[in-house]
Every structure is written in C-alpha cells, then in structure tokens.
C-alpha cells in the first residue's frame, strides 16, 4: 500500500530529488528509503516497491529499538545506527525536525567510504528535514 499522500506531495517530491542527488554523488550507494517512524515508505531510491516497503518497516523497527537503547543508556537521542556487514553497510539516520518523524535507511556496498557516506547522508537528511518542517 502506498502511503505517499499522507506525507504531502510537495515535500515528498523534494525528498525524492534529494535522494536522487545523494545516490548520484555518493559512491557505493545501492539503495535508500525515506521512511516514517512507524514504518511507511515516503520516498525511495533504486529499490522495488516490495523491497522499499520491507526496508521501511525494518528501518523503523531498528530506529525504534536504537532509540530505546539510547534512552536506557541515558544517552538520548539516537541519531543514527550503522550496520557493518561483510560486503556492505546499512545506515539508519534520523531526519532532523521532520513532521511526522522520519528516518533515512541507506544500503551501501563495499565501494562506499563510511565517513563520506555519513557526511553525505547527513546533508541529505538535513535537506529532507527542511522540506518536512512545518
């Protein structure tokens, strides 16, 4: 099911363009999904519909668990989570000030450089956050 109308067409369009620019300018980005905190796809890059829906749901669960752990540890708030696997990286990054709350899930391959990926993702999230700020 597409939840796009729930998130505002203009802001969603801006987010889509930001994702595309991020994908083009950042080495190693395989796919990315902008997701609402409760697990709906808002916009996506280089991933099929079913894959985007799954990544959105999984990204929101991870983000929610990350926030719970940060709270438990007294180091609120969880800004990003990084999963480093054998052949790539997944980053779940909180989009600042977005309403409703959102995160960006990024899948990158071995060609990515973590620092560069995080820096570009943060810039992308900031731009998306501005679009969804009320």
């Amino acid at each position: 099911m597409s939840a796009a109308p729930r998130f505002g067409k203009v802001a969603t369009g801006v987010a889509q363009k930001q994702l595309e620019a991020f994908g083009q300018s950042t080495p190693g980005v395989v796919s990315a999904v902008l997701l609402s905190a409760d697990g709906f796809e808002v916009a996506s890059l280089q991933v099929g519909k079913s894959g985007a829906e799954r990544l959105a749901a999984m990204g929101s669960s991870l983000g929610a668990i990350g926030s719970a752990i940060a709270k438990e540890a007294g180091i609120v708030e969880c800004n990003r989570m990084i999963i480093e696997a054998d052949s790539g990286t997944v980053v779940i990054m909180h989009v600042p000030d977005a309403k409703p709350p959102m995160s960006l899930a990024i899948v990158a391959n071995g060609a990515s450089v973590l620092g560069q990926l995080l820096w570009a993702a943060r810039n992308c999230c900031s731009a998306i956050g501005r679009a969804f700020r009320e």
Partner: protein
C-alpha cells in the same frame, strides 16, 4: 541474571491497538521498555503512538519463576519482528479486540502466524467484548474449534493486572503440561 529458579520467554501478539503494550505494562515488575513511535496510520487505528520494534517487561512470580515478556508490533508490515521475537518463546499470548470488525479473521491470522498452538502453546485474550456488535466470547472458541484447535480463550481487560496474570498463569500451565522440561531449561 535474575537469580530466578527458572526463567523463560513469552510473547504478546495481536493486531494494532489491541493493548499489547498496555498488557505488559500492567504486569511488569519494572517499567517496561517500549519502542512507541508516532502513528501516521490513523485510518488503521486512531491512536497517537504505535509499537515499531518491541515491548519488553519482566515479572517474577511467587514460585520463583521469572518470565520475560515480549510484545510484538501488530501491523503485518512488521511481520519480520514476529518471527524474531517468536524465536525460542516458550508460549504466546494472542490478544484480540472484539470491537474490531475483522476480529475473528485476526484471530485466525495471529494464531496461524505463531504455529496454531502446535509448535508453541497459545492462550487467547479477547478484549472489548462489551462493545456494541462485538461477537460473544464463545464465537472465538467456536472459530478455533471449527479449525480443529482447542486453545484457552478468556475475556480480558488488558489494563487490569489480574486479567493479564490469568493469561500468563494459564500459559505457564500449558507450557508445563506440554513439556515439563521447558520450565527448567
């Protein structure tokens, strides 16, 4: 470690808005861990927050048994969390909201998703039975019986600690009957 004589894991599941987080909070000895997030799907259920990851609580019973309580998200898109949380669970409590129009279908759905009681003992708690148009409690038992399943079904108010404890105690009995070694594993 809790130092309990035996400790095991049970899972609370059921559709969105049925009160899984509330049920765990009602009986947990400590403030439960919750992963509530802003709910954008007000059509599915009109509430401010919804669980995206899991709920976690803990209860020590008088006989020295300690129970870890896990709650799943209710929405089907979080199905992968059901499988993760269901792993190694000694038993499952399925909560159903009788006021939801598809309550009986939801019953089938969640009971099937957790092995129909054949793999892991299941107890059913049905809430909001007093809602106008809600099926009677018997309808839920009969629904299971038509499918050859005999599972304990109780009417509950998940805000009430004794109601939730009744579900947990019943599940413990089922677990012990099904596999007496499981409680000491």
């Amino acid at each position: 470690m809790s130092g309990a004589d035996s400790e095991f894991k049970i899972v609370f599941t059921g559709p969105m808005g049925v009160g899984k987080t509330t049920a765990i909070a009602a009986i947990s000895d400590e403030a439960p861990v919750s992963t509530d997030v802003f709910n954008t799907d007000r059509e599915a259920f009109d509430k401010a927050l919804t669980t995206a990851g899991l709920d976690y609580g803990h209860i020590a019973l008088d006989d020295g048994t300690a129970v870890r309580l896990y709650g799943t998200p209710g929405q089907a898109r979080f199905r992968f969390m059901w499988d993760i949380l269901g792993l190694n669970a000694a038993g499952v409590i399925v909560l159903i909201d009788a006021s939801q129009s598809d309550a009986l279908v939801q019953l089938d759905h969640f009971v099937d998703a957790f092995g129909s009681g054949k793999r892991t003992p299941i107890v059913i708690g049905v809430g909001r039975l007093d809602h106008a148009g809600a099926p009677p409690l018997d309808a839920f038992s009969q629904r299971l019986e038509t499918r050859g399943l005999t599972l304990p079904v109780f009417g509950v108010d998940v805000r009430r600690r004794p109601d939730v404890l009744l579900l947990v105690d019943t599940l413990l009995c089922l677990i012990e009957t099904a596999d007496p070694t499981r409680l000491t594993a």
